[in-house]
Amino acid sequence: MTRDEQIAALTRARAEVGRVIAGCDSPQIETIARSADMELHWALWNLGEPVSLRAEMDEPTAAGR
């Protein structure tokens, strides 16, 4: 898998996880999904992508943790 393909897959994964964060009503599932998003953001950072400083800054609502 090329770097670009990894970046594309991780970006898609973040979008899917973001849907779970926005749509779930369980504190447990939301917390796990936020943790997943933090790690996916960190993977993109370490692939040299110019992502935001913190994962939640990419959220449209910037809702925090």
Binding site: R3, E39, W42, N46, G48, P50, R54, G64, R65
Partner: protein
């Protein structure tokens, strides 16, 4: 968690560790700009600081702008604000409900600094250790033993976060005395020891008294931080590797910044982690950048510390930065790690004497153990440094041999540093032992003759 499939690569992340300089600098600029905006918008301290300097984050369009226009910050500013309004004062840049972990510096330069971390900050900090662990040869099948009391000291908490990230088994030695550590190591069979360098030697010495030879133990690697270790002090490396029969590694970290520079696998320096921070070398007198290869103060801007950003932060570490390394990493290399401290330099009869320079020499003198202290006093308008050392136990009862070791230490110091320092032997086991940072520098000078952070 299942381990990564590739174990044969010498890099934790080859792509970033060997990234071309131009690409690294492009990333640095984008990340510095993002951090400046975050700090300006979220931290009252940075808003005041940047406003006072007449700089808005949008004005920083190059890394040169960062070095020449953005003000320098120092630990004393953060401590002052925290004392005004504990625990973090105006230095905090995230809401308190995002703070997941509190740590403190060891307070060796005075008042401890409080350090807030968000969950993401702890992940990034822990990740920093992984580069050094992996480069030394540590793999997910290894077991870490932490000879560490789990107080508020950030250094080894972050090592724990790193060991978890790597996927290793972790054994805590928290709360045990030194004999207890020896027994726990024999019982749990770790392959990696995490401790300060001097405490590694202390454990080995106590083990020897118990009739245990740790060079025959399960430990294959020792990894250190918190004080000058095997990279900065080659004599220390030789003693640790002999005592433990293990490969010794070291990481240069600053509690409030990051585990920021993993040891180079070549053993002759550390590489700044350029995914987590930007750094440059500054002439501490002029504030200007020094030329590549020249000694200057390491000034860092950390991307991982979003809860309490550190931008153009003085480390007071004097370093020699080079751009390339035979190991293949492109991350800036600090040859010999930290060469000295701007605030632990004394001028003895007109000669600048750095703590680490004296320590380097002492580590090589036969008969001089790693247990010593440097006592600073004031006489005749001059700083005076006296070395009080314990002889190696093997010669402890031989007055002539001890005297010879003292003379040899004095001679070597004079030859290398062009200054005569008094070397006083003291009885074996008479100097205090420390589990965390060993206090080497005993400053007995009047306050007015010390730098601000040493008062």
């Amino acid at each position: 968690m299942p381990a990564p499939r590739r174990w044969d690569t010498p890099f934790w992340n080859r792509a970033t560790e060997t990234m071309p300089r131009a690409e690294l600098d492009r990333l640095h600029l984008a990340r510095v700009q993002a951090l400046l905006h975050h700090a300006y918008e979220s931290s009252a301290f940075y808003r005041r600081k940047l406003d006072a300097a007449g700089v808005h984050p949008r004005d920083v369009r190059s890394l040169e702008d960062l070095k020449t226009r953005v003000p320098i910050t120092d630990k004393s500013e953060f401590i002052g604000l925290q004392q005004e309004r504990p625990p973090y004062g105006d230095t905090l840049a995230l809401p308190m409900d995002l703070i997941s972990h509190h740590a403190e510096t060891s307070g060796t330069t005075g008042v401890p600094l409080s350090i807030p971390y968000s969950m993401a900050d702890t992940v990034r900090y822990g990740e920093s250790w992984c580069y050094g662990f992996w480069g030394l040869g540590i793999r997910p099948s290894d077991t870490f033993y932490f000879a560490f009391g789990w107080g508020n000291f950030a250094g080894f908490w972050s090592a724990y976060w790193g060991a978890r990230r790597l996927g290793c088994r972790v054994v805590s030695g928290g709360g045990l005395d030194t004999k207890g550590h020896v027994q726990a190591i024999l019982r749990t069979r770790p392959t990696v020891l995490i401790s300060t360098p001097t405490f590694a030697l202390r454990i080995a010495a106590v083990a020897a008294e118990m009739g245990v030879d740790l060079s025959q133990s399960s430990v294959k690697f020792t990894y250190h931080a918190g004080e000058p270790g095997p990279t900065a002090l080659p004599g220390m490396r030789e003693q640790i590797e002999r005592a433990w029969g293990a490969k010794a590694g070291e990481l240069l970290g600053i509690a409030e910044v990051d585990a920021m520079a993993p040891g180079c696998p070549n053993g002759d320096g550390v590489h700044m982690n350029e995914m987590n921070l930007h750094s440059w070398s500054m002439d501490p007198e002029t504030g200007k950048e020094v030329a590549p290869g020249e000694i200057g103060e390491n000034v860092v801007t950390g991307y991982g510390q979003t809860a309490q950003p550190l931008i153009n932060y003085r480390t007071h570490d004097l370093v020699r930065r080079v751009a390339s390394c035979s190991c293949g990493r492109t991350w800036g290399k600090l040859e010999g790690s930290v060469l000295g401290r701007t605030d632990f330099m004394v001028t003895v009869r007109g000669t600048n004497v750095y703590q680490s320079a004296v320590e380097n020499i002492l580590a090589e003198v036969p008969g001089v153990s790693m247990h010593y202290e440097l006592v600073l006093t004031r006489a005749d308008d001059n700083d005076v440094m006296t070395i009080r050392f314990e002889p190696e136990p093997a010669i402890g009862g031989d007055e002539a041999a001890v005297r010879k070791a003292a003379e040899e230490a004095g001679t070597r110091i004079h030859r290398a540093l062009h200054v005569r320092l008094e070397c006083q032997p003291v009885p074996c086991n008479s100097l205090p032992r420390f589990e965390l940072k060993t206090k080497r520098m005993i400053d007995q000078r009047p306050k007015e003759f010390r730098r601000a952070l040493d008062r």
